[in-house]
Symmetry: C2
Subunit: 246 residues, 2 copies
């Protein structure tokens, strides 16, 4: 172990350091985000309030910030290797009553099918909340602001990336993917143009025909790269050119 005495030159107060997660999925035709309840124990800030899942960085266990995020995500959802992207950091004297704190926010996309209702064997009660409804809740800390930034980033990127593909279990069909886009964007997109764009981008590989409940079977696809989304040279509807994340 390392010596516990603070080296000279470093004996000044340090901020609290946390990692928070905005975990998205699409379920029941709606974009949902995972919220947890703050504990009610005495001394806890924002008791009983809804908050983003997260917590302090454990410098004994976590080798890096991303490791910490991945660990917390796995604890909450049971999902091991989702799409995970850094959203940004928020820090200041006022955001946590326990003192100057800085949080590193990540956002994750997980397939709807990966969510058994009670999954994530963790203590705090968690709930999948519709994104629009979640922004209207008065969340703990500055989590309302972080959530809003995450939704803006997701919506913005969906206009010109293949991000929604990470919200679907594989293999998926083009109509399913289109539906996911429409749910996240909140508007309909043209079928023909959509298919041309997706197929031309070349980020999917065919994975055999999939039977459907009714109608013609659809081609199934898998992602060629589960780590990085494809980027399109144009946004979907030029009429509302919206900003990218960050």
């Amino acid at each position: 172990m390392k010596p516990s005495a603070t080296p000279p030159g470093l004996d000044f107060p340090r901020p609290l350091v946390t990692v928070d997660l905005v975990i998205f999925t699409v379920r029941d035709d709606a974009l949902k985000v995972l919220l947890v309840r703050r504990p009610d124990a005495p001394g806890e800030p924002f008791p009983g309030r809804w908050a983003l899942p997260g917590g302090f960085v454990d410098i004994e266990r976590d080798a890096s910030l991303v490791d910490c995020a991945r660990r917390k995500l796995h604890e909450k959802t049971g999902v091991a290797a989702p799409y995970l992207e850094q959203l940004g950091s928020w820090g200041g004297a006022q955001r946590d009553p326990r003192g100057w704190s800085a949080t590193h926010a990540f956002f994750a996309l997980i397939p709807g099918a990966d969510l058994a209702p009670g999954q994530g064997a963790h203590a705090a009660p968690a709930e999948w909340t519709e994104a629009a409804a979640a922004t209207r809740k008065r969340l703990a800390f500055d989590h309302g602001e972080i959530l809003a930034a995450a939704i803006a980033r997701l919506r913005g990127k969906v206009e010109y990336t293949s991000l929604p593909a990470f919200l679907l279990p594989e293999p998926f069909t083009l109509p399913q993917l289109q539906h996911t886009y429409e749910v996240v964007l909140g508007r309909a997109v043209d079928k023909s143009a959509f298919r041309k764009r997706m197929l031309d981008a070349g980020f999917m590989a065919e994975a055999g025909l999939l039977e459907r409940a009714a109608g013609r079977p659809a081609m199934g696809y898998r992602l060629r790269d589960r780590a990085q989304p494809a980027v399109f040279p144009r946004t979907f509807s030029p009429r509302d050119a919206e900003a990218p994340g960050a």
Copy 2:
């Protein structure tokens, strides 16, 4: 003042928290970034190495991370209100020999004309380095990685935003702006298409004709909003669709 005793439940070791800056400007037809030399004092990590400007968050002085970034930027360059954007955060057990540390990286764009050579009345020797050359130096900490991320973000965003306008002193002309784009992108862009795009985006206001050394005077422009860049619905050259930041 607040009690100095650590409240119960918070008595675990905390990471070191820093802010680092990637400060860009365009000067002498090149994209440049500000580097500083690490001190040579004993106990200092990476003595004598080049590094990004930055340092520890001072929880007494800095109300927030952005405040801290703005303060350090002003100390180094004398520039008060530049374009400042969060780049991301890097944290882990290995990046600083003094212990588990997390840095919040920002990137700033400042006009070339704002740089008197010796400006920024600060101790450490600082130097404007060509961006490409800076990436080849062996920087302290993980600053090489941070710098690479900043350059990628800048290049990516320049494809579809008005960011280069923040690298010019006002008022500026369209040919000057085009030249700045070309310096950052490292390739020529078509004059006609460029002008159409910039003028249609409507982020500039006319500011009177500017005399030039030779040739016809050019219209001067000012930014309507010095805080936010304009976003174009398409990238410049569809042939290389490149990713946005973050």
